[in-house]
Subunit: 157 residues, 2 copies
DNA sequence: TCTTGAACCTCAAGTTACTTGAAGTCCTAT
DNA sequence: ATAGGACTTCAAGTAACTTGAGGTTCAAGA
């Protein structure tokens, strides 16, 4: 039986302890069991839940949206189709973010590479290649659409 | 010649206008040229810079770190190798995030699919499959490493 | 068994990065 | 020429933590 302290849970999920206490305070995670001295103890389920929460939060999904996703996990009575729809919307948003992040990766990789070749032996005259870093890359619409999606998702509770 | 108003720049980059003004105020973007009436006008370069900034910000890179990356673009005198190193560190962080985001995508896709099959025709008895959503997936260390990387990057400057 | 120091506790205040509101000015289309 | 939508500044508000103060608990070594 794994009885984790708050610090253990923190390191396992890449969170810091005060953040976990904060999540408890705002009711994003249930109140943890306390030991005699009042210290919080956690189990496997807590690790899973917090991992999901942190992943979502790291990618900008607002707390209220994450909340609806995780409470969905703890309400078995809820309509399965409703749950699926919510998860699917979330998934679409994640995929949009994946595209954006890949674009960012390409930009940076291209920049690093051009640095590599252009100024191989020291400072070159025009290492201002950053000019073509972050080309809107036909994503002008995609970016704003992603924004709209996020806003739409946020709107629903 | 494209002379964009702040609203145009905003829609093209998925930002809202007040945020652009805020970025100007804190000096993350240069002060924009003004028209006779005092309204801001923007060009292609501004679209590029703001696109980069927003992409970075959307993925949690703190402003000061983004600042060092974009000022790097406007300081041709700076050491090319230093620039490359900074970009490379940033790139590594982006790739770590990509892995995390893919894990999140898989979790959600798996959940949606199991919803699909399990409760095909309505609410099933145990649509609490969310239990295996967000498995730490051997990423326990990766998550915290990513956190450390972020913190390290934040620390410099 | 005692003790000591790291890790925990609560509560309050501070920080980052925006967002929203008020009150007024500009500009373009009818 | 005028109505209304987009712009202006400045101030205050919000989300999601983070940090600090001041004190308690607990596991490990003497």
């Amino acid at each position: 039986m794994p009885a984790l302290k708050i610090g253990d849970l923190a390191t396992r999920t890449g969170t810091n302890a005060p953040t976990i206490r904060y999540y408890e305070e705002i009711g994003l995670v249930p109140r943890a069991d306390r030991q005699d001295g009042g210290q919080r103890r956690y189990g496997d389920e807590d690790v899973k839940r917090l991992t999901l929460i942190r992943r979502c939060r790291e990618f900008g999904f607002p707390i209220e949206q994450v909340r609806s996703l995780v409470t969905l996990a703890e309400e078995p009575g809820r309509s399965c189709l409703e749950a699926r729809d919510l998860a699917q919307e979330h998934l679409a948003a994640v995929r949009a973010k994946l595209r954006e992040l890949k674009a960012l990766e390409r930009s940076l990789a291209r920049f690093v590479e051009s640095c590599e070749t252009a100024c191989a032996g020291g400072p070159g005259p025009d290492c201002t290649i950053l000019g073509d870093l972050a080309t809107p890359s036909s994503q002008a619409r995609t970016v704003s659409e992603a924004g709209q999606t996020a806003r739409r998702l946020r709107a629903r509770r």
